[in-house]
């Protein structure tokens, strides 16, 4: 089972947002886009441990866009859909009641906060009250049984956590459930033997001269000042020597038992904490104390080296750590992150992006992407290798290869666009297959403004025009050949290849000069210099020479030259692409 959809209305920075989800979710978004609020929203619906005071929302929790005078019928509504539970009889028996008539197999649970009395309206916090419904809040709405929140759980590991402190505090420790279970399964006689040994060790410690003296003086002091009202039977020792207290004393030690966790690095404490939390959930599910856990981890990357980020979370998300490999997994993850490394191990379909807008934050997900298995693999590899950087972009320029990756930013700078500062990433698709990428960031995906810049390739079998026509079909469901209309969709093509287009632009001298600089051999150099003097360019010869130099190297040097250049005309299609993107990002 997993959550399939979350919808939020009028809650904090969300006016109306809805996100489809897959098995797990990796949520990215700029600061203040609402990542923590999203987790909180889920807790309002599902968290059995959320205190009443936190569940009872206040006026400040209502989306500010409703106005300073709040309409009396305003409602904060958070709805969570579950799906894929029919094979699990426990879950079916609980959620089956709330199955949507229009989507069999999906159940909906809703939290609503509204005015107690519409006639009084919403003027102070105490005018608000909250309710739960199943299926809908309207005429078809049902009341929720309390069993639901006991069996379907969310555990939150918050940002700014103190893993050390929590691990060492018995009541909050994720190890508690595990240790208590182990205790209940252990042979009482074995534990008693150990308790006996502890008792002996306590005695031996006290036999050490100076410690014995200290023990006596502490006792004398305390009993002296408190008289008969003091603590009974006080003495120094290492551990309480009873079987049940022994369990509480068990802790995680590092370095073969020589160091305790507090001395360990904060990062590794976090890893241990997260691992134990997961194990605790597995244990509670197998003990039939609950049927499902959503593990929400805020900033899972905290204090972790990038490599550790990747290994820890790809292992957990892949499910290979589950106790019973063949049973349907009943633990889902929701990670909110700023880390490209976490994104790099995410499944393509589990990405969620929150973006602020004038109409409140919006949520976009990749769970419903219409991509083939191969496309998905391509994207997965891409995200892996590029550390998912494109997910964090505010605007994207898709280009064919590394050459463009060097040249476009340099050219943009010439025009006064500092791409980095603007949050625009130039992403190379290493070829000409833009389709999966366009789908990934398009309106059915992460919803990031983008442009595609590709070569004209008029003589190739698959021209740039045709390439863009195919892309326009993905975007608009209609293949556009007309260049103007393609450009309106953000699809830009040159006339020939980039190098030729550069030579035909105001960067002509810079480009040819670069070729001369990098020429291999006098003959090549002569050719370039001739081009500079005569102004005549042999297209094929030029391209052949650049190939010999190495396209990447050529582009790298050329981009350096460009940045040292005076402002000059860059190819028009690139200028148009940049303008289009800047406009779309507004």
């Amino acid at each position: 089972m997993h959550l399939s959809r979350i919808s939020l209305r009028n809650f904090r920075n969300f006016s109306s947002a809805c996100v489809e989800l897959g098995k797990n979710a990796i949520v990215v978004g700029e600061n203040k886009s609402g990542k923590s609020n999203l987790v909180y929203a889920i807790r309002l619906v599902l968290d059995n441990a959320l205190p009443e005071s936190q569940r009872r929302l206040r006026i400040e929790d209502i989306w500010s866009g409703v106005g300073s005078s709040i309409p009396p019928d305003t409602e904060i509504e958070i709805a969570i859909d579950f799906t894929d539970f029919s094979k699990n009889k426990d879950l079916l028996g609980i959620l089956g009641l709330y199955e949507l008539d229009e989507s069999p197999g999906t159940a909906r649970i809703i939290y609503v906060c509204r005015a107690k009395d519409k006639k009084i309206g919403i003027r102070k916090d105490t005018d608000l009250d909250y309710y739960w419904y199943g299926k809908s809040t309207g005429d078809d709405g049902l009341e929720i049984e309390k069993t639901l929140r006991q069996r379907i759980r969310i555990d939150v590991i918050q940002a700014l956590r103190d893993a050390d402190k929590d691990l060492n505090n018995w009541r909050n420790s994720p190890a508690r459930v595990l240790l208590e279970t182990a205790l209940s399964l252990s042979e009482q006689s074995e534990l008693e033997k150990i308790a006996q040994k502890v008792s002996e060790s306590n005695k031996e410690v006290l036999a050490v001269g100076p410690i014995k003296k200290l023990d006596a003086s502490v006792r004398d002091m305390v009993n002296g000042i408190s008289g008969t009202h003091g603590p009974e039977g006080m003495r120094l020792g290492m551990l309480p020597a009873t079987t049940d207290k022994l369990v509480r004393a068990i802790r995680i030690l590092i370095d073969n038992g020589t160091r305790s966790l507090g001395e360990e690095s904060l990062g590794l404490s976090n890893v241990i904490y997260i691992g134990l939390k997961y194990l605790e959930s597995l244990e509670l599910i197998s003990q039939n104390e609950r049927d499902f856990t959503l593990l929400a981890i805020e900033e899972p990357e905290a204090h972790l080296h990038p490599t550790l980020q990747r290994t820890v979370f790809s292992s957990l998300i892949s499910g290979k750590m589950d106790a019973k490999g063949d049973e349907k997994r009943e633990i889902s993850f929701l990670l909110t992150t700023h880390s490209p490394h976490i994104v790099s191990i995410a499944k393509v379909r589990s990405l969620v992006r929150l973006a602020r807008s004038a109409a409140g934050s919006k949520a976009y997900s990749t769970s419903k992407l219409n991509i083939s298995t191969e496309e998905e693999e391509d994207l997965a590899r891409y995200l892996d290798v590029t550390r998912g950087e494109l997910v964090f972009a505010k605007g994207i320029i898709f280009v064919e290869g590394d050459a463009e990756r060097f040249l476009i930013p340099a050219m943009a700078a010439l025009h006064g666009y500092e791409l980095d500062a603007l949050g625009i990433f130039v992403c190379s698709v290493s070829g000409a297959n833009f389709s999966p990428y366009v789908k990934l960031v398009g309106v059915n995906g992460l919803h990031i403004p983008f442009v595609v810049i590709t070569d004209g390739d008029p003589n190739a079998q698959f021209t740039g025009a045709a390439r863009l026509a195919k892309l326009s079909e993905i975007i608009m469901n209609r293949a556009e050949i007309d260049q103007g209309r393609q450009e309106a969709l953000g699809l830009f093509r040159g006339r020939d290849t980039l190098e030729i287009d550069l030579v035909e632009s105001g960067l002509r001298k810079t480009t040819i000069g670069c070729g001369a600089e990098l020429s291999i051999g006098k003959t090549m150099k002569a050719r370039f210099e001739a081009m500079l003097t005569t102004g005549l360019v042999d297209r094929d010869s030029l391209l052949k020479d650049i190939n010999l130099i190495g396209k990447g190297r050529f582009a790298q040097r050329l981009s350096q030259r460009i940045s040292k250049n005076e402002p000059a005309e860059i190819p028009l299609y690139i200028t148009n692409a940049l303008k289009h993107l800047i406009e779309a990002m507004k």
């Binding site: 028996g93 609980i94 089956g96 199955e99 197999g105 049902l142 039939n288």
Partner: protein, 598 residues
């Protein structure tokens, strides 16, 4: 040893009971009278809860009436097995309503906020339907039973729905439409809709299986074809394990659509194991044998009681009034002097119709025999709120801490809406009120009801969802100023049974009861069997079963009273002799053993 363990031990000593307890697959327990079926059912529920059931799944226990449900709950309480989170105990209707109609009704346009129609609303809309479809002058009462049964039997609404009896079909449809417009539903509607939903969506069957892997049903023979259809559907589509308890020989509610053949259908299913307990723990051997003879078929029952028992028939020439007088002045006092350890509460007087009951009540009043009527002859609605009020009255007159606990639970249950807890303050203030009200047994009923209405029952009666509670309570208030005008809280509270009062009840309401002495009054042709039954074989069989039920109520003495004639309500006399059921016994037993001369 806990009561539960004691119960298990008892059951282990009875072969069939032990088998029934041990089964793990579909089981049919054909439990004759006095066979301890409730004990087996209750312990089976407890055993399943303790040993087999895993949270969050539940066991559903379906009974015939709210009283039966309450009794099973009490018995589960006694053996510490009542876990509300794991159990649903209720009537067929409440099961259908709560687990099928409310959650899934929206799929066919029924809102979950639908309200159960009160009797008045049902009658009103039905009358309107009859007036609309048949004619304004038509008497609705003539159509009620027929339409009810037609509606239930033909729930599938296949092609024969309109063709077999188009008038009834149209009346029913008109009636259903009127209810739906007012967002109301009636009991039979719950049943019909549930069946339609189950057949429409397999996913609902799957949900029921996920929620209730075990379904236990009591008095299966009385629950009718709709429940049977539900069971068959679930058997087909799910792995739910059923434990069905019933006795075809005690099927006496044919007029409300019950069919004893349904039990036979279950019995013939290969997936069911049928267990038939042989021991009757209640009746003495003589009465067991007579009861089998009364059925006219062979049954393998034997008595375990060592009491010799006795059966006597009394011929009283002066008709029902005479029978009542002889009973009050001779038979009952003689019984009491014969059995010094017994009280009036150990006596049950059974009769066919309420008219006879009225005569008996009047005679008993005249001759100062304290009695209570537990048949439907109470002048107010027999619904949960009036039942609760009766118990509360009993407590006020006779404060007993255990009774208080029970009443608190009932109070809680009355306020139970959709599994959400009652406001604890209500429960606390109610308890305080009860403690205060102790010993006020002699106050006037009408005044006391007023106190209740403004006090502990105020919140419940004023709640929007409580229309039927309001209706029930006001029927009680009405009776309190009319028929029960002179009643004290005490007499009202002890109404349902008390050690100091003899029980007067119709045969139909006697099921499940037992008495040391049973007197069956009016054992004449024309009364039992009545005019219609004498003419129709099937009806005669059911009348025979009614007789059987009466006979098997006795622990010790059984008395028949007859006059040899029947006087109808227009005072016309039919001389057809004593009831053939009684005289047929003479063919099996020595006449002298049975018929006592004048």
């Amino acid at each position: 040893m806990t009561l539960y363990d004691q119960g298990l031990l008892d059951i282990s000593e009875n072969k069939e009971q032990a088998s029934a307890l041990a089964t793990t697959s579909n089981t049919l327990l054909l439990a004759g009278p006095g066979s301890g079926k409730t004990k087996v059912l209750v312990h089976k529920v407890a055993k399943t809860l303790r040993e087999v059931l895993k949270k969050p799944r539940q066991v559903a226990c379906i009974t015939y009436s709210t009283e039966c449900a309450a009794e099973i709950e009490d018995r589960l309480d006694r053996i510490d097995a009542n876990d509300p989170d794991s159990l649903f105990i209720g009537t067929v209707h409440s099961f259908f309503f709560k687990w099928i109609v409310i959650p899934f009704g929206s799929r066919i346009g029924i809102s979950p906020h639908i309200r159960v129609a009160t009797k008045k609303e049902r009658d009103q809309h039905f009358s309107e339907a009859v007036a609309n479809v048949i004619s304004v002058d038509e008497e609705p009462a003539k159509w009620t039973t027929h339409c009810d049964n037609y509606r239930k039997d033909k729930w599938e609404r296949k092609s024969d729905w309109k063709t077999e009896d188009s008038k009834a079909a149209n009346v029913v449809e008109d009636y259903e439409r009127r209810l739906q417009e007012k967002n109301l539903i009636d009991f039979d509607g719950m049943v019909v809709l549930s069946l339609q939903l189950l057949h429409r969506d397999d996913s609902i069957c799957k949900f029921l299986e996920a929620r209730f892997p075990f379904i236990y049903i009591d008095e299966y023979q009385d629950l009718g074809s709709p429940l049977h259809a539900l069971v068959l559907r679930l058997l087909k589509k799910t792995d739910i394990v059923f434990f069905l308890v019933g006795d075809p020989d005690q099927s006496i509610y044919g007029f409300s659509g019950a069919h004893p053949e349904l039990l036979k259908e279950i019995r013939d299913l290969p997936s069911f194991v049928t267990i038939i307990p042989k021991i009757n723990y209640r009746c003495p051997a003589k009465i067991v044998n007579v009861s089998i003879a009364a059925l006219g078929e062979a049954r393998d029952y034997r008595a375990s009681s060592k009491i010799p028992g006795s059966i006597q028939a009394h011929h009283v020439v002066s008709g029902i009034e005479g029978q009542a007088k002889i009973l009050a002045t001779k038979i009952l006092p003689e019984y009491l002097s014969r059995n010094p350890g017994m009280q009036l509460g150990d006596i049950g007087v059974l009769y066919r119709t309420k008219d006879i009951g009225d005569v008996l009540a009047s005679a008993f009043r005249t001759y100062n025999i304290r009695c209570i009527r537990t048949d439907k002859g109470v002048p107010y609605a027999r619904v949960p709120i009036t039942r609760f009020t009766e118990e509360l009255a009993g407590y006020c007159a006779n404060p007993d801490a255990r009774v208080l606990l029970k009443i608190r639970k009932r109070f809680h249950r009355l306020h139970y809406i959709n599994g959400n807890p009652i406001d604890p303050r209500l429960l606390t203030s109610f308890t305080a009120w009860c403690l205060d009200a102790r010993g006020k047994g002699h106050a006037r009923l009408a005044d006391w009801l007023g106190e209740l209405k403004d006090g502990p029952l105020k919140h419940l009666l004023e709640a929007a969802e409580s229309a039927d509670h309001r209706e029930g309570f006001s029927s009680l208030e009405g009776a309190a100023v009319k028929e029960l005008a002179n009643a004290s809280i005490q007499s009202f509270g002890f109404h349902r049974g008390s050690e100091l009062h003899a029980t007067l009840t119709t045969l139909h309401s006697a099921k499940g009861l037992e008495f040391d002495m049973v007197a069956m009054v009016g054992m004449d042709e024309g009364s039992l069997p009545n005019y219609y039954e004498r003419k129709d074989q099937k009806k005669l069989e059911e009348a025979r079963r009614l007789f059987y039920v009466g006979v098997t109520r006795s622990i010790n003495e059984l008395h028949f009273l007859y006059s040899g004639f029947f006087k109808n309500k227009w005072n016309k006399i039919y001389r057809n002799g004593p009831s053939k059921f009684m005289t047929d016994l003479g063919e099996v037993f020595d006449v002298a053993d049975i018929i006592d001369g004048k």
